[in-house]
Symmetry: C2
């Protein structure tokens, strides 16, 4: 048996998210498992580092699977890309130890959230950035983001459907970068609660609209109360950028 780890990029626009579902064939997992079934001539279950929601994109999703197929490693991503739709690409494939698990062994992740802050929505970013026509106060967003960094109870930034046992996570950094009319928020942490990046972003957007001061954002974190934080911003601005593993 051989064990594989792949880095996957996808445009989530047309998909109901990562996870295979009974009622729709439009999931990333289904497309990848279909490609592997043709290569391996048997059903190959595929695990992902993050079960991204409908509409969420990935530059660097990590998947893991095992198969008996004798396909040379250097041919694997070519073969998979030949069978996958063009909105899903295998960027890298390698063989790993049998104990590799893309989700349980992840020790950190980077997510990006893109905002289109142009007066008129960009036609090219309409599926790739959340449009907010009101000019955002970047300096208040940066200031507010500082209060969120560190090892904290993130209950205020956790969707009600979240099944994680502990609401404590370590948020290593939030970078807020503006280029022309587009704003990129980069979040790096050891792990994220369900919808955490989207609620953090919604809260920072409120800071950008000066609905929250930076001290309000600090108080929202301290209150451990989801109802006080900003809205959950839409999925289509969110990107899974990188997943970190130990030992390299």
């Amino acid at each position: 048996m051989r064990y594989f780890k792949c880095i996957v990029e996808y445009d989530g626009t047309s998909y109901s998210g990562w996870q295979r579902q009974k009622n729709t064939p439009h999931t990333i997992q289904e497309k990848i498992e279909n490609a592997l079934r043709i290569i391996a001539k048997e059903q190959i279950p595929v695990m992902a580092a993050s079960r991204t929601d409908a509409g969420v994109h990935a530059y660097g999703q990590v998947i893991g699977f095992k198969m008996k197929s004798g396909i040379p490693l250097e041919k694997l991503s070519l073969a998979m890309n030949g069978l996958l739709p063009t909105d899903i690409r295998i960027k890298e494939a390698r063989e790993v130890d049998q104990d590799f698990h893309p989700r349980f062994q992840a020790i950190g992740k980077i997510y990006n959230y893109y905002l289109d802050n142009r007066n008129i929505q960009s036609v090219f970013q309409r599926n790739y950035a959340y449009h907010i026509p009101i000019k955002l106060d970047i300096s208040n967003m940066k200031k507010s983001s500082k209060y969120l960094i560190g090892t904290n109870d993130f209950s205020s930034f956790r969707a009600s459907g979240c099944s994680a046992k502990s609401p404590v996570r370590t948020l290593k950094r939030i970078d807020v970068e503006k280029k022309d009319d587009f704003i990129r928020l980069e979040f790096e942490g050891d792990g994220f609660l369900y919808n955490m990046v989207r609620i953090l972003t919604g809260t920072l957007v409120y800071a950008g609209m000066n609905k929250f001061t930076s001290l309000d954002v600090r108080d929202i974190l301290d209150a451990q109360d989801r109802t006080l934080a900003g809205p959950t911003v839409p999925a289509h601005g969110l990107y899974l950028v990188k997943v970190f593993y130990g030992g390299k």
Copy 2:
């Protein structure tokens, strides 16, 4: 009667080009005329600076039309954007003199062509840049582009369907810019023959593959023979960026 000039941005992916056609409702002109018909309560013919082909995008297409509607100018683009699909946006609208014609009065244009030079095609650029997996020699592309600048007979870079009377155009500049794995070619000129930007790009791509030396490119221009130039690259990498008019 009032006369209008608007700047339009569109994602050409879903359209059969600018120009209204009998067999498809999917043209930019049709969508804009439909929106204006609702606003003006009559059919309003719309002219464009450039009749872009199927799949071609625009950051700055310029359109002109006249109508009797009393809609306040500051409401016009809002009203049009409310009626248009999200892949077509009116970025700016103003009232102009009755002699304004977006095509005949244009004195210059800027086009961009985007290349995705990544090993694996970017999922996010698949409709917005032409993927060439072979690493291109940027320095030879830049060197070759110099020979194309100036007032020249561009017969070698003119599609057979071109109806222009003269093949002479003035190409003011070609900028070749690389950022990460993406290459942007910017063409500025007083006007362009049919498919000229796409054939110039195809020729510079061949220079980037070292199929042509820069002196070959010079000779291709001099030969005034389309069969010697590079291929017509696909429409989906092409953008109409800006149209210039005299007197401002």
